[in-house]
C-alpha cells in the first residue's frame, strides 16, 4: 500500500461546512495527489504536489484547496462543502521504478455532503 493512510475513512457533513481530508505517507515521496472518483467518471485529478509548499491544480480543482507543510502530509480542504462534492477521495504518491513513475493509491475517503 506504499505506506499511505487517509483520514477520516468516512465522513458525513452538511452543506456549507468546511471539511479537511488528510493523506499521510511514511516513505518520503516527493509527489502526492488528490483524486475524486464518481460513478461514470473514473478518477479525476483535483490537486497535486511536487514538494513541500509546492502545489498545482488538476482537472477539477474548483471548490478545493490543498496544503503541504510537511513531506509526509497532504491536506485537501473543501472550504464550503456542496452536495456535488459527495464522492470518494483518493490520495496517491508517485514512486520511481524502472525508469518511470508509478502511482500508488491510499484506501480512500468516502465523503457524503447532505
Amino acid at each position: 500500500d506504499a505506506g499511505i493512510t487517509q483520514s477520516p475513512r468516512h465522513k458525513v457533513t452538511e452543506t456549507g461546512t468546511p471539511v479537511t481530508l488528510r493523506c499521510h505517507q511514511t516513505e518520503n515521496h516527493r509527489y502526492m495527489y488528490w483524486y475524486r472518483q464518481d460513478p461514470g467518471h473514473g478518477l479525476r485529478l483535483i490537486h497535486y504536489s511536487y514538494g513541500v509548499k509546492d502545489t498545482d491544480k488538476g482537472e477539477v480543482s474548483d471548490g478545493y484547496s490543498v496544503s503541504r507543510s510537511k513531506t509526509e502530509d497532504f491536506l485537501l480542504t473543501l472550504e464550503s462543502a456542496t452536495s456535488s462534492q459527495t464522492s470518494v477521495y483518493f490520495c496517491a504518491i508517485s514512486e520511481f521504478s524502472g525508469g518511470s513513475y508509478e502511482q500508488y493509491f491510499g484506501p480512500g475517503t468516502r465523503l457524503t455532503v447532505t
Binding site: D1, G42, Y48, S94, S100, E102, Q103, Y104
Partner: protein, 111 residues
C-alpha cells in the same frame, strides 16, 4: 476530460476464459498504467508500460501499447472468480507525473 477511454464498459466471462479490454487515448503520453479496483475498495497498481515499449507481461497479465494508434490492451489469461473487478487505464504525463484515467471496464468472472 478523460484521456483514456476503455472498451468494453462491461465484460462477463466464464472462469478459465481470457478477458481482453482496450484503452484509447488522445494525446502523447510518457507511460500508461493499468489498475484494478474491487468493489468499494482502493486501486491496485497492476502494470506500467512506457511509451517506448510495445508489450509487457506480469503473471497472467499481458499489456500491449500501440502509440501510433494511441491504444493499449490488457489481457487477463485463464481468468478466476477473484479477477472480478473494475479495471482502469491511466495515461501518464512526464510533467508532474500526473495520471488521467478512463472510465473503466467492469469485469465479471463467473465460476
Amino acid at each position: 476530460s478523460q484521456q483514456g477511454e476503455e472498451d468494453p464498459q462491461a465484460l462477463s466471462i466464464q472462469e478459465g476464459e481470457n478477458a481482453t479490454m482496450n484503452c484509447s487515448y488522445k494525446t502523447s503520453i510518457n507511460n500508461l498504467q493499468w489498475y484494478r479496483q474491487n468493489s468499494g475498495r482502493g486501486l491496485v497498481h497492476l502494470i506500467l508500460i512506457r511509451s517506448n515499449e510495445r508489450e509487457k507481461h506480469s503473471g497472467r497479465l499481458r499489456v500491449t501499447l500501440d502509440t501510433s494508434k494511441k491504444s493499449s490492451s490488457l489481457l487477463i489469461t485463464a481468468s478466476r472468480a477473484a479477477d472480478t473487478a473494475s479495471y482502469f487505464c491511466a495515461t501518464g504525463q512526464a510533467a508532474g507525473n500526473k495520471l488521467t484515467f478512463g472510465g473503466g471496464t467492469r469485469v465479471l468472472v463467473k465460476p
